[in-house]
Amino acid sequence: MSASFVHPALFYADEHEYLDGTVPFIREGLAAGEPVAVAVPGKNLALIRDGLGDIADAVRLLDMREAGRNPGRIIPGVLRAFADAQPAGRRVRIIGEPIWAGRTPTEYPACAQHEALINAAFAGRRVTILCPYDVRALDEEVLTDARATHPTVISSGREQGSSAYDWEGVVSRYNEPLPVVPDALSFAFAADSLPTARHTATREAARFGLAGTRLEDLALVTAELTTNSVVHGGGSGELRVWAEDGYVVCEVRDTGRLADPLAGRRPAARDQRGGRGLLLVNLVADLVRVHTGEEGTTIRCWFAR
């Protein structure tokens, strides 16, 4: 059995192909003594659960619409959370379906980058992650990206190497600029105004209807992003807050460059002292989009109202 990471895309056209591609994959894993997790949208999760029958209890089942609502949360909060908890040396098997037809154009770049970064996050590890794609419901562009983010593609039951495989290309292609939103509340901060920045953000978010834990989460996220700007991003930055559809959006811009594409996507070791800021942002926000380049970094976070 291969010692390295295995990451096929599964192109399926209907329920039969879905079940044929997933259930035997799960059974094989269980038969080999491999821990197995399935994180797919609720409707597909029900299909797989029914297909597995009695052995469903032996599999960790998660609704990806919840656990992976923010694509940036999936690697630390779902995939590595499961893989890292298993006995060392044991191969781990996961089905992860992060992209479905209801993903919005705002979410999609983060989805594609997530799929690409799985390759970096699991390089060299004894893990298999199978990613189903609904070929009837998804745009051709999404399937083209899937061929670039997966070294192999399974279609009509046959697995073939993908000559288009280029995950780094996908990470940079979806590093899309996030233009300044006009009419948003804006606040220029530096080291001595970090608390004011946080208060400004929470006051505006509360005015837009954010409350309770969600408002606390926004306060934590604002503190982490603005502090990062002060410490690593040139010493100052700009905070913006606005409402958009059912969300409050909080954005921090600075002149730093985020060099590590996996920043915020590694689970923190229990005894690791710091370095949890961006991880927290990914874990609590409903969506995180990042643009980084020579001219600076923008991180935008959505919180459902």
Partner: protein, 116 residues
């Protein structure tokens, strides 16, 4: 043990944190917030607590409005350095601290959260 600290307040918005011993039991009361500017004060206060040999240390945080993730990490780090059987009881922590403890250190026995 008294550590008093104020960040020079040019803009009126800088973070402040004062830490003073509790009169009624072993431990400290903190007032203000824990963030980038006040992390050092927080860290030194917790160091002193850990150095003292008593079994239980009380942290009264009712007047602390916010603790960032690094501040929570400092608290956890202090609690971890306690010998077995000793613990820190955190009284009325701000919601942000509860949230980060729950997210990153859900089963840490050396920290007890008390809502009174």
């Amino acid at each position: 043990m008294t550590i008093q600290y104020r960040v020079p307040s040019g803009s009126g918005g800088a973070a402040e944190l004062t830490v003073a011993p509790l009169a009624e039991r072993f431990g400290v009361r903190a007032v203000g917030e824990v963030g980038l500017a006040t992390r050092g004060i927080w860290e030194r206060a917790l160091e002193e607590v850990v150095r003292d040999g008593r079994a239980v240390c009380h942290l009264e945080l009712a007047a602390v409005t916010f603790v960032d993730v690094a501040g929570a990490g400092v608290l956890v780090d202090a609690a971890r350095r306690l010998p077995a059987g000793r613990r820190i009881v955190v009284h009325r922590p701000p919601p942000a601290l509860c949230r980060t403890l729950e997210l990153f250190w859900p089963d840490l026995s050396a920290i007890e959260v008390a809502m009174s």
